[in-house]
């Protein structure tokens, strides 16, 4: 049952993250929400890999069934990708804060002034 619990927790995390992303006006808050939601998606893949009473998928780590190695490898990739995009988007937020002096999304996306 640990797998199911973890999967449901992952879904709850993703929902919380998405809600934060939608409701908050501040760009940093949006990124935080995004990060929580991506954490949810990663935890979900880990929960998919889980088997009851399983050992790590390493040869010589004792008897019994092993957890599924493929989702764990996917998770490794997904974590790095999410970290990279988060770092890059934080840099862009810093840049916008310097130039536009705001992190408020509705003000950032105000349309171009007509000349």
């Amino acid at each position: 049952m640990e797998g199911l619990t973890a999967a449901l927790m992952a879904i709850a995390l993703a929902g919380l993250g998405l809600w934060t992303l939608i409701r908050r006006r501040n760009a940093i808050w949006k990124l935080l929400g995004l990060n929580v939601a991506s954490g949810g998606s990663i935890l979900f893949l880990v929960a998919v890999a889980h088997r009851p009473e399983a050992r790590p998928p390493i040869l010589g780590m004792g008897p019994g069934p092993a957890a599924d190695p493929l989702p764990q490898a996917l998770v490794l990739t997904a974590i790095v990708i999410h970290f990279a995009t988060l770092a890059l988007s934080l840099v862009y937020v810093i840049f916008l804060t310097e130039r536009r002096h705001t992190q408020d999304v509705p003000r950032l996306e105000r349309p171009r002034r007509r000349r």
Binding site: P57, A66, A67
Partner: protein, 213 residues
């Protein structure tokens, strides 16, 4: 708008939960021992990441390296905040301890990278650990002094050199069918190098432009 968003988020969560209930209990997993050994590994995740699905991993390394390039490019256009940087109190004990600790961290991360195909570990955790070791050192010494010691253009060359070597290794493993422990260890070491340098770049850029650790 608010209600629509709330209903939609709840609906997505509900659908996902409904779908997840159908996923459990889980079935048996496919045979994994043979393919793992074929790549000269004992850790199945290493055999997948550095063997069967190296194609994915190459693109992932490129994502990481390009994001770090983006951090450099984005930060270069911003003014450096030299004056607002906090002064670090110089205590001999702290400096000495940090030097010893970074040695331990370096050895540990090398161990993790070099043995990643046999047990838990691998290039990415090793690089992340070395990167956090550098963070520790930056806390003790001040990021500026550390930056003087680690000459950045060389590091940049090393980072992209590591990525280029990884692409070449990928060609050897995927196209020419090279198998065995040596490509796995080499790939783990180069990934570790690339991740550690990238982590240091992010840290240093953020510190020198925002003035805080």
């Amino acid at each position: 708008m608010r209600w629509a968003a709330a209903v939609a988020v709840l609906a997505v969560m509900g659908l996902l939960a409904l779908a997840t209930l159908g996923l459990f209990p889980r079935g048996p997993i496919p045979e994994w021992e043979g393919p793992t050994l074929a790549y000269g590994a004992r850790n199945a995740v290493a055999a997948i990441v550095l063997g069967s699905r190296l194609w994915d991993t190459l693109m992932e390394v490129l994502v990481y390296a390009m994001a770090m390039l983006g951090v450099r490019m984005g930060m270069r256009t911003l003014p450096e905040l030299a004056s607002s940087r906090p002064q670090v109190a110089e205590t001999p004990l702290l400096l000495k301890a940090a030097d010893i600790l970074i040695g331990v961290v370096l050895v540990f991360s090398l161990y993790l990278a070099a043995s990643g195909h046999l047990g838990p570990g691998g290039g990415f955790p090793a690089g992340a650990i070395l990167g956090s070791g550098l963070l520790l050192l930056a806390l003790a010494k001040g990021a500026d002094r550390l930056a003087e010691e680690l000459y950045e253009p060389t590091l940049e060359g090393l980072e992209y050199g590591a990525v280029a070597v990884l692409v070449a290794l990928g060609a050897a493993t995927l196209l020419l069918g090279v198998r065995g422990q040596i490509p796995l260890v080499a790939a783990n070491l180069f990934i570790g190098l690339e991740v550690a340098i990238g982590a240091w770049v992010v840290l240093h850029r953020f510190v020198s432009h925002r003035g805080e650790i």
